[in-house]
């Protein structure tokens, strides 16, 4: 059973932005949409293992900073070459003034 991990405070992430979150040697990307929804995906691009937290968030997409591949960060779906493999996604909840990720 996956645990809920305290990842950050809600305001640690700007609206329409992403931050990196590391836990037990793995890297994750945490997103905040324009509508203040929170999402979490694997932190590295499935194409060449670049940190997505350095990329660009537009609407519900994250664009990799190295080759401009895009994913829908709500579903992890690969949307634009050169990415072909979907990102893993993780459940997120906003509770007690913190953002929690189920990992």
């Amino acid at each position: 059973m996956a645990d809920w991990i305290d990842a950050c405070a809600p305001d640690d992430i700007d609206q329409e932005d992403v931050i990196r979150f590391d836990h037990e040697g793995r890297s994750y990307a945490l997103y905040r949409s324009l509508g203040d929804e929170y999402f979490c995906t694997a932190g590295l691009c499935t194409h060449e293992e670049v940190h997505l937290a350095d990329g660009l968030v537009m609407d519900y997409t994250i664009e990799c900073p190295k080759h401009n591949g895009q994913f829908d960060y709500r579903t992890g779906e690969a949307m634009r070459a050169p990415v072909c493999e979907n990102l893993a996604t993780y459940k997120v909840k906003h509770e007690g003034g913190r953002i929690w990720v189920q990992i």
């Binding site: 537009m58 401009n68 634009r80 072909c84």
Partner: protein, 359 residues
């Protein structure tokens, strides 16, 4: 000079993987996240404006060329049209391939398809080839887009000012792909799932070229080919000239774009044709930044970069003595000094560089 194998399937490719040069961590200038976000922000407006200017000018020049055909008075208009078709489309292929020209995805994709057709570059194949160029910039055996190898094939580059090599290779590859096959090197960097798309595009292009040639034969006139196809030859010179300035004469097998890439100040017309890719170090360090924000990026990080070449002529003059010495068999490259404000080159990142810096 030790013979280098620029093939993607040769011994230098294996050596690059073994030495950790392939898919390595590269140097980046420090930019605070808020500034980086502002620089990366997408907008449709600048690219719509530039596309309207581009296609408007192409229609005007081609129209005047057709009106004045077959007199020599049409020649200046064909030359102008040719540069927009055979060179400006190279920059549109590049920028839209990155997806940075427009904010709206379909606009990027539409211009990308048009530009790929003009340049005879399969939109699937070249997207992957360029991704590799960004992963392994000027890493011998890994980068499929090294223009001037060592020793440099200057005669080939010279005839390519008229697109000859590119068009020959482009057409041969198009015919191969249309027959349902891929070149083995191309197959090494294109996932299998993408390969049917590549073949479909090649077949559509063959049909377009066949229709154009049929029209030219029916009219017993070169005119249809002056509009479609031939401008890739007679208008190629500008993109070859600007393209050769990007990396030529600089280091190979390093992981710092300040050592293998050149930024050159250019006149506004060349910058329009080239979509600001004269800021090439900046583009390679931060490929997420749209072309219209590269001047701002340059201003932000220029103190961390070697000084930009002041003009195309200055860059060519800087490059030429290095190429001549490489032609004579010397294993040298141009290593440019950094300003005192810059983070130093980290020797441990490019210890594997082959050759010696020129004095």
């Amino acid at each position: 000079m030790e013979k280098r194998d620029y093939s993607l399937l040769g011994q230098d490719a294996e050596r690059a993987v073994e030495s950790g040069l392939a898919a390595a961590q590269w140097y980046h200038s420090d930019i605070p996240r808020p500034q980086m976000k502002a620089l990366m922000k997408r907008s449709d407006q600048p690219a719509i404006r530039d596309a309207v200017i581009l296609f408007g000018a192409m229609a005007l020049f081609a129209g005047l060329g057709i009106l004045l055909w077959p007199t020599w008075w049409s020649a200046p208009f064909w030359l102008a049209y040719g540069v927009l078709y055979g060179s400006a489309m190279d920059a549109r292929w590049h920028e839209c391939g990155h997806g940075t020209a427009f904010r709206t995805a379909w606009m990027n994709d539409a211009l990308y398809q048009v530009a790929c057709f003009c340049m005879i570059r399969n939109p699937v194949s070249w997207r992957w080839s360029h991704a590799r160029h960004h992963t392994d910039t000027i890493i011998v055996g890994r980068d499929p887009e090294i223009l001037a190898m060592r020793p440099p094939a200057l005669a080939q580059i010279a005839i390519n000012l008229f697109g000859v090599m590119d068009v020959w290779r482009g057409l041969m590859r198009m015919m191969l792909n249309a027959s349902g096959k891929l070149d083995p090197q191309e197959a090494s960097y294109i996932p299998q799932s993408e390969q049917p798309k590549l073949i479909r595009v090649a077949r559509i292009w063959v049909a377009i070229y066949a229709a154009t040639i049929a029209l030219a034969l029916a009219q017993a006139s070169l005119l249809p080919l002056m509009v479609i196809g031939l401008p890739r030859l007679y208008g190629a010179w500008h993109h070859v000239l600007t393209g050769i300035l990007q990396h030529t004469g600089l280091a190979e097998n390093v992981t710092d774009h300040r050592l293998n890439t050149r930024t050159v100040h250019m006149n506004p017309i060349s910058r329009f044709i080239y979509l600001n890719m004269n800021y090439h170090v900046e583009h390679h360090m931060f490929p997420m930044v749209p072309y219209h924000r590269l001047p701002a990026l340059h201003d932000l990080i220029k103190d961390d970069l070697p000084p930009a070449s002041p003009s195309m002529l200055a860059a060519l003059r800087e490059m030429w003595p290095i190429l001549r010495r490489q032609l004579r068999g010397e294993d040298i490259y141009l290593r440019r000094d950094l300003p005192p404000t810059a983070q130093p080159y980290r020797e441990e990142f490019h210890r594997a560089a082959l050759g010696q810096p020129a004095d």
